[in-house]
């Protein structure tokens, strides 16, 4: 198992290096095929890692992570190269591998107009390695390093392959993205160092089994720094300002990975580090975290209602959905945390699908502006429009699809938060978040109404608009299947997280 | 003779040299001020040589410094000449080729 873990971490990196070292003239198709093979292997490997006996070590120190690699790395600083996966991280790793694989597959036929697919594929592989590293790191410094590794390739992806109509805009979006997230991770590193100072170790397993006690002073400062640093990545309102621009300007595959995977780094970090390592301090800040998450739910949904750009709209919807995840974490209750974990996966699948669809619509109309695209997509692109409606319904949390269970468990957690949290406050959050789901429904229905429905006579079909192509069907089918599967069988994931 | 006498003289000479280097516009005057500063150093060396009563080490070093000064002034004046050829003046204030320009961003 350790070999597999190491392999899925190293293989994409080596493959990316190999891809860069061969001449640029190998052709886009070949590069994409190569990327597909590599990421497909990683996907297989990550599925093999799926823990047989689910255990959530973060809450039971006696349960060691299922798979572990632990060697000294920088002995003088006490930093170890400590990797391990358990039932929290494996689903996220599988999600990462799946989305990267689908992005590579998608690039076989559909690539950004800027070209240079070879480098794009290589960067995607680097991102994959970085994300998997973050999800499997069990050392704070290693976590930080992997967290940072992801940033630069994504910055390049937005900067180089972004919206070809707006070079200045995509550069600005990329810079805002990288600067804000680097700012956040700098704060996070400070927090880690404070933890190290108090606890004397950087090892997450050790820290989890003997957490830093105390909800004031240095632990509180550390928790605040880590929470803010991770909240930039989540992104939590009001630190979300980089997100809409980055998503709107990024290429389709970039948006998919950004929304599907990168946002999860923040929430994963909260669950992996903040909650178990600094339990008392987290309890102190949890009501504030919950409050900001609730504001994010409402503000994100409201902002969606006034968007005129389909990609921006979906980006803002991520703010709302990540708000749900933040609320779930802040409840510190079994239901809330499981809801957050579930919503992580569900959001990755559904928003990934939504961004694929938005990208498809954008490619066909050469713009993502709702007014320019026009209406009556049901008549012009019936299959894509139907899939869009499906994805919207899934995203607004329709029971029976994946989006529901996460939100439901989060609300359940808010109804019944951890006993040491102020219950009334969380009840208020629950009610506001519940109303936020109505707003969520409102903006998705508005999107469907303004995009899919309408009089076909007034919106004649574009000449080049082709409905669902085969590669699109192939890449989207897994996402659709998993959305439905997780919707009707949430136990598939919930059982992994065991009983408390 | 008190030791502070040559030392204080050296301090005064050195600071006059510093003033000259910092304040004068003519590059040649600046070089001359450098010479004053080097002389102050030499004075120190010789004074401490006398104080320590050892075998003329300070004097030797003073000789070395004088040699260095000769080399320095030779090179310095060559640069001054180059500056003059390039710009037509030897004004340190006007020689601002190192200035960061606004539009350079």
């Amino acid at each position: 198992m350790n070999a597999i873990l190491l392999a899925i971490l190293v293989l994409p990196l080596l493959a990316a290096g190999a891809l860069w070292s061969i001449p640029a003239a190998i052709g886009d198709r070949l590069a994409a095929a190569y990327g597909s093979v590599i990421s497909g292997l990683v996907l297989v490997g990550s599925v093999l890692l799926w823990p047989q006996n689910g255990g959530w070590f973060a809450y039971g120190p006696q349960d060691a992570p299922a798979t572990e690699i632990d060697v000294a790395w920088i002995p003088s600083l006490g930093v170890r190269f400590h990797l391990g996966v358990d039932s929290i991280s494996v689903p996220l790793i599988v999600l990462t591998a799946l989305l990267t694989f689908l992005c590579c597959l998608y690039s076989l036929k559909i690539t950004p107009r800027i070209g240079r697919t070879r480098s794009l594929i290589a960067l995607l592989l680097v991102i994959e390695a970085g994300v998997i590293g973050t999800f499997s790191a069990l050392d704070l410094v290693l976590f930080f390093v992997c967290f940072e590794i992801v940033l630069i390739p994504m910055w390049l992806v937005i900067d180089i392959w972004g919206d070809h109509h707006d070079p200045a805009g995509r550069k600005r979006a990329a810079n805002t993205f990288v600067l804000m997230t680097v700012f956040g991770s700098a704060l996070m590193l400070l927090g880690f160092l404070l933890v190290q100072r108090v606890a004397g170790t950087l090892d997450i397993v050790e820290l989890t089994s003997s957490p830093v006690a105390g909800g004031h002073g240095i632990p509180l400062a550390a928790a605040l720094l880590i929470a803010i640093g991770l909240a930039v990545k989540v992104p939590l309102w009001p630190l979300h300002i980089w997100l809409p621009d980055a998503h709107a300007k990024a290429p389709t595959v970039g948006s998919v990975l950004l929304a599907g995977v990168l946002l999860k780094l923040g929430t994963y970090g909260m669950i992996r580090i903040l909650v178990p390592v600094l339990p008392d301090a987290t309890a102190t800040i949890a009501p504030y975290l919950g409050a900001f998450s609730t504001v994010a739910i409402v503000a994100g949904s409201l902002a969606c209602l006034a968007q005129t750009d389909v990609k921006r709209l979906i980006a803002y919807s991520s703010v709302g959905h990540m708000g749900f995840i933040g609320l779930g974490i802040s409840t510190l209750s079994p239901a809330g945390l499981r809801g957050a974990l579930f919503a992580n996966i569900a959001h990755g699948l559904i928003t990934g699908l939504l961004f694929f669809l938005a990208g498809a619509i954008k490619d066909r109309h050469d713009t993502s502006d709702l007014r320019t695209i026009g209406r009556a997509l049901y008549a012009r692109l019936p299959r894509i429009a139907a899939l869009l409606t499906f994805a919207c319904l899934a995203s607004l949390g329709l029971p029976g699809l994946a989006g529901f269970w996460g939100e439901m468990l989060v609300l359940l957690g808010a109804y019944h938060p951890a006993p040491w949290l102020p219950r009334t406050t969380f009840l208020v959050f629950m009610v506001i978040a519940g109303l936020g789901t109505v707003l969520t429904a409102a903006y998705f229905l508005r999107l469907v109404r303004n995009l899919c429905q309408g009089d076909p006579a007034e919106n004649p079909p574009a000449a080049f608009a082709v409905d669902l192509s085969r590669i699109e069907l192939v890449t989207w089918a897994p996402l659709i299947t998993l959305t439905v599967l997780l919707g009707v069988w949430p136990g598939l994931l919930l059982q992994q997280w065991g009983a408390l | 003779m008190p030791l502070v006498l040559p030392l204080l003289l050296a301090v005064v000479l050195f600071c006059i040299g510093v003033y000259g280097v910092l304040a004068r516009r003519n590059v040649i005057t600046m070089l001359m001020s450098f010479e004053l500063m080097l002389n102050a150093v030499n004075l120190n060396l010789v004074a401490f040589d006398a104080w320590r009563v050892d075998e003329a080490t300070g004097q030797t070093l003073a000789i070395f410094v004088i040699t260095l000064a000769a080399a320095e002034i030779g090179l310095g004046l060559a640069i001054v000449l180059l500056l003059f050829r390039g710009h037509g003046h030897v004004d340190a204030d006007a020689a601002r080729d190192l200035l960061e320009h606004e539009e350079a961003s």
Binding site: T176, H240, I241, W242, L302, A303, C304, L305, A306, S333, P334, A335, A376, Y378, L398, P399, G400, F404, M408, L409, L411, L412, Y415, H416, M430, V431, G434, L435, T437, V438, L439, A441, A442, L445, R446, R449, C452, Q453, G454, D455, P456, A457, V488, P490, G491, L494, Q495, A499, L500 | V18, L22, M30, A92, D93, A95, R96, L98, L99, E100, E102
Partner: protein, 587 residues
């Protein structure tokens, strides 16, 4: 090709439900849980159950769905594949609700129904009213469903189980019970379009008529009644909730009946009548007695038959005439064409309206009498709720008779007073009095559409006797008198060719504009405010940080004067400062 597959699948699925119901009939009540997972100490998962209520509802759903699917074969040709698929899914969702024993499983069916109704109401998405009606339906029910979800939390955590069969009111504290049931009631009110969440149902009328029949007769709106009947032991233990339910039901039935008497479109009249009839069922449930539950379910079944019938008839009108607006229908009627051309439709619709109005001998009469009887018994025990329900139902019975007769007369009969005039519906329609429409091509619908009509018409009569006739003659007489009381003014007004529609009723008490002003407009403003806030407040901070960096770097660049002496001065100062610092630290 795909459309054919879905057509066959749709009809087949409906028949399968009937078969399933037949198999379950008489089987011992049983439950079965599956796909469970533990979250903390709670079990979240699915469960199904089988009892009399399940079988009853399965039969109702099966029959109505079969009728609707068959009817749709003739009715709908545009986008038939997606239509039949969605209707099938809709039916499946209702079946889920009916067979579910887990609150979450029920919620899945409950909300999938909402989504399907959204998609089906928006079937004619070219039309503006269909689009907005669909969105409105989904959002209002979704809003209510949030309350429903919270109700599940409260009850589920209170009783420590999410299984309906394990919810024991005796083991739940009264406060939790009241809160939970009230929250569930919010969901029920939204789903069944009761006051104050009633406005979506009339606006859902642009959807295809068979879908309206399905929504109104057997599935979506009936789900609310079903839910309370299913959890009747919990609800009847919560006195406050029942009182609230009674008040809501009584207000709704009168409100909706008044609105129905002023509506000028056949489907809108029927929609309001549905709201009103559902309220009657809720009022019966709010009595909290076994009789009340029985009456409500009896009314639910008869109502499913005659309301399904009526909507399918309205569908025929729409299909054959092209519109169900009274003003259009009058153009045919004034030559007496409509009744003759659409004979079967006329006859079946007459049966349906008679059943709705509660004409003695028809199914509606018997079921309504059961409700009145249950209310009377409750009132007799000295319950205020019983009296309120009794009076409201009686008033509603009269009003129902009024609007049924009005609809029947104005749709199918020439007004003697106007002698062929269009009547009182032409205001606002400039083309109303132009030349006659070409009515020579007007003929009755194909047999696939008529067969369900006939079947349901038979049911609308026969179902009244299915429960065993145990008529209380006094109540029967009183309700007959009430029907007459309502019918007479309708007849006399029609005779005079007048159709007074009070402005308040015609605008449906101004609830919709009020909601628009109170909810939609502020939300739009808030949305704009949020975007502006993101751009001009939060974004401004971010931009300001960037700009500060740029300014600082420009300021630092100024220091690079290019003057050697400046650099030297700075260096000397630095040396001096360091020396001083060293001295200070050293000392």
């Amino acid at each position: 090709m795909i459309a054919t597959v879905w057509r066959v699948a749709g009809v087949g699925f409906s028949l399968l439900i009937l078969l399933f119901a037949a198999l379950l009939h008489g089987a011992t009540p049983d439950q079965y849980a599956f796909l469970n997972s533990q979250v903390g100490d709670l079990t979240i998962g699915f469960a199904v159950r089988n009892d009399d209520l399940t079988v009853l509802l399965l039969v109702v759903v099966g029959v109505i769905a079969t009728c609707v699917q068959v009817y749709s074969l003739g009715y709908l040709h545009q986008r038939a594949a997606s239509y039949h698929a969605l209707v099938t899914l809709f039916t499946a969702a209702m079946v889920t609700v009916v067979i579910s024993d887990s609150l979450f499983f029920l919620l899945i069916g409950w909300e999938v129904m909402g989504a399907c109704s959204y998609l089906l109401i928006g079937h004619y998405w070219e039309r503006r009213d269909a689009r907005s009606g669909a969105v409105k339906a989904f959002l209002m029910t979704r809003f209510a469903d949030v309350g429903f979800l919270f109700g599940i939390f409260v009850l589920g955590l209170g009783a420590h189980t999410f299984r309906i069969s394990e919810l024991d009111p005796a083991r739940i504290s009264p406060g939790v019970l009241t809160t939970g049931t009230l929250l569930l009631l919010v969901g029920v009110v939204g789903k069944s379009a009761q006051v104050p969440l009633q406005t979506w149902l009339p606006d859902a009328m642009p959807g295809p008529s068979p879908v309206s029949a399905l929504i109104h007769a057997a599935t979506m709106v009936a789900a609310g009644v079903f839910l309370i009947a299913r959890m009747y032991n919990v609800f009847s233990a919560a006195e406050t909730t029942l009182t609230v339910l009674a008040i809501i039901a009584c207000v709704t039935m009168l409100f909706a009946a008044l609105c129905a008497s002023a509506a000028v479109e056949v489907k809108r009249v029927l929609a309001w009548s549905t709201v009103s009839q559902l309220a009657i069922m809720f009022s019966a449930l709010s009595l909290g007695t076994a009789d009340g539950r029985h009456a409500a379910l009896f009314h639910l079944v008869t109502h499913a038959a005659f309301k399904g019938l009526l909507f399918l008839c309205a569908g025929v009108l729409l299909h054959q005439v092209g519109s169900a607006a009274l003003v259009v229908l009058r153009r045919y009627t004034r030559r007496g064409k409509l009744r003759k051309a659409l004979q079967v439709t006329f006859l079946t619709m007459t049966v349906g309206l008679a059943a709705l109005a509660g004409v003695p001998g028809f199914a509606g009469f018997f079921s309504k009498d059961t409700v009145i009887e249950a209310a009377w018994e409750k009132a007799h025990d000295g319950s205020g709720v019983g009296w309120v329900v009794l009076v409201s139902v009686c008033l509603t019975a009269a009003l129902t008779a009024f609007y049924c007769l009005r609809l029947w007369l104005w749709t199918f009969f020439r007004t003697p007073a106007l002698a062929g005039g269009i009547g009182a519906f032409e205001d606002g329609d400039a083309a109303a009095d132009l030349d006659d429409p070409d009515s020579s091509k007007l003929r009755d619908a194909p047999w696939v559409m008529l067969a369900p009509l006939v079947l349901l018409a038979v049911a609308a009569i026969a179902l009244g006797y299915a429960d065993g006739v145990h008529l209380n003659w006094a109540i029967g007489l009183i309700s007959t008198a009430l029907v007459l009381l309502g019918a007479l003014p309708a007849y006399s007004l029609w005779r005079r060719g007048a159709d007074p529609r009070p402005i308040l009723l015609e605008r449906e008490f101004g609830v919709d504009p009020a909601y628009h002003g109170l909810v939609v407009v502020p939300v739009k403003w808030l949305a704009k405010l949020t975007v502006a806030g993101d751009r001009d407040v939060i974004g401004a901070y971010v931009r300001a940080v960037g700009r500060t960096g740029m300014l600082a770097s420009q300021g630092l660049r100024r220091l690079q004067t290019g003057n050697v002496q400046t650099y030297l001065t700075a260096a000397v100062i630095g040396v001096v400062a360091l020396a001083v610092l060293a001295g200070v630290i050293g000392s």
